[in-house]
């Protein structure tokens, strides 16, 4: 292209400039919407499966789940997504009997925000499982909060009354105590603090044990379809 060497570009009407960009924008818009529509079903299924796997892991024995939100002073089941919602998940067995909640929490860790999901049995006031969903803790040290099976096992049967406390490794004697990881005490304390803080928020919102929201039929069928 010879005009590349000349400093002045050939005069082009501004209509043509605008038209070119508009056309480029249009084509790009069509391409983007096309790929979005094409990949959306897979992405939605992947996300739903990931969430189900995490919930099933932290609330053992669950075969069905539904999304619950706290609205106007009570906990109701929903299938819709709203902005700034704080959903938790109810876990149920095959007959629709309630087993426990899976509650997401997040907070600052050693390096960056730690996001986790914990299972909670309201009638016994017990944490029954914990899974780290998101963290950038130091490899080899802080990442033991999900790689160290012994640490994760602390959360299999952990009382939240009066609150969870951390103790030196091997000194766990009370049901509300967690052995911290040697060399990763800040990360392990962060996990405990996140659960304590999330529990404080949710303990007042959860209904009396025994009156948990029932598994809704519509959700059941959606569940089976997956």
């Amino acid at each position: 292209m010879s005009e590349d060497k000349t400093p002045d570009a050939p005069a082009v009407s501004s209509t043509r400039l605008v038209l070119t960009l508009a056309l480029a924008g249009l084509i790009s818009g069509v391409a983007i919407i096309g790929i979005y529509e094409a990949t959306l079903p897979t992405i939605t299924i992947n996300k739903a499966r990931e969430l189900r796997e995490a919930v099933f892991k932290v609330v053992p024995g669950v075969t069905r789940m539904q999304k619950l939100v706290y609205k106007n002073g009570e906990l109701v089941s929903t299938t819709e997504t709203e902005k700034d919602e704080e959903p938790i998940y109810g876990g149920y067995d095959d007959e629709g009997g309630f087993i426990g909640y899976a509650i997401p929490g997040a907070g600052p860790g050693f390096q960056d925000v730690i996001g986790l999901l914990y299972g909670y049995k309201p009638d016994q006031k017990l944490v029954i499982g914990m899974e780290i969903l998101e963290s950038r803790e130091t490899p080899g040290l802080g990442d033991k909060i999900y790689k160290d099976a012994e640490f994760v096992a602390n959360f299999k049967e952990l009382s939240v009354e009066p609150e969870i406390v951390t103790v030196k490794k091997g000194q766990k004697s009370e049901p509300n105590e967690v052995d911290i990881i040697t060399g990763a005490s800040i990360s392990s304390k962060a996990v405990v603090r996140i659960i304590n803080e999330t529990h404080t928020v949710w303990s007042t919102r959860l209904p009396q044990p025994g009156s948990e929201p029932l598994m809704t039929e519509s959700e059941k069928t959606v569940d089976e379809a997956k």
Partner: protein, 192 residues
């Protein structure tokens, strides 16, 4: 409030944009040969980051909830045109200010720290105030890293350094050592 302090400290020190996320490396390595220039570039970057936080909050709240797939294109187009518009405005209103930092504006707009801020703020679901605090922390952190590297480089000009290591290789190694030093800030917030 706690959350805002954490966002600020985290983006300023613990997860410094340059030294932990590698964002904005082009100006970091390219322009950091003088302390004075680095400082001015840093100020201009803070300014553009603040505009970016406002733009991305606006787009996220009013446009992208209807069309999430246009995120990338709309961020680029809106941020670039807003910065260009403000650049023209500064040129008209205050030629002195324009001379001080205006020349950097086009350079900064194409910098990945800007787009990175918009994307991180979106992924983390920050609101307006959180976004602005994030932009401030990231911008001051960027300036801090720039000024530190520039100071070290100005010092190194005076020393006898083997020719082999001079240039980008040395700057990267200095950046690596700075980054290691900044790792010491990890846990600053959660330890208390």
């Amino acid at each position: 409030m706690d959350n805002l302090v954490w966002i600020f400290i985290s983006s300023l020190l613990i997860n410094n944009f340059v030294l932990a996320y590698f964002l904005g490396l082009c100006p970091f390595l390219g322009v950091s040969n003088s302390l004075e220039t680095s400082f001015r570039l840093g100020l201009a970057t803070i300014f553009v980051l603040l505009i970016t936080a406002l733009c991305s909050w606006f787009l996220n709240t009013y446009v992208l909830i209807y069309a999430p797939y246009l995120r990338l294109i709309s961020f680029i187009v809106v941020i670039a045109s807003t910065v260009q518009f403000i650049e023209m405005l500064i040129k008209k209103l205050s030629p002195a200010l324009f001379r001080a930092m205006g020349i950097f504006l086009p350079l900064i707009t194409t910098n990945c720290a800007i787009l990175g801020l918009a994307i991180f703020a979106t992924n983390r679901g920050y609101g307006l105030i959180e976004g602005i605090v994030f932009a401030l922390g990231a911008g001051i952190g960027f300036t801090l890293a720039m000024v530190l590297l520039a100071g070290l480089r100005e010092e190194s000009e005076l020393s006898d350094i083997p020719k082999l290591i001079q240039g980008i290789a040395m700057n990267l190694i200095i950046a690596g050592i700075l980054s290691m030093a900044f790792m010491g800030f990890a846990g600053l917030f959660s330890a208390v």
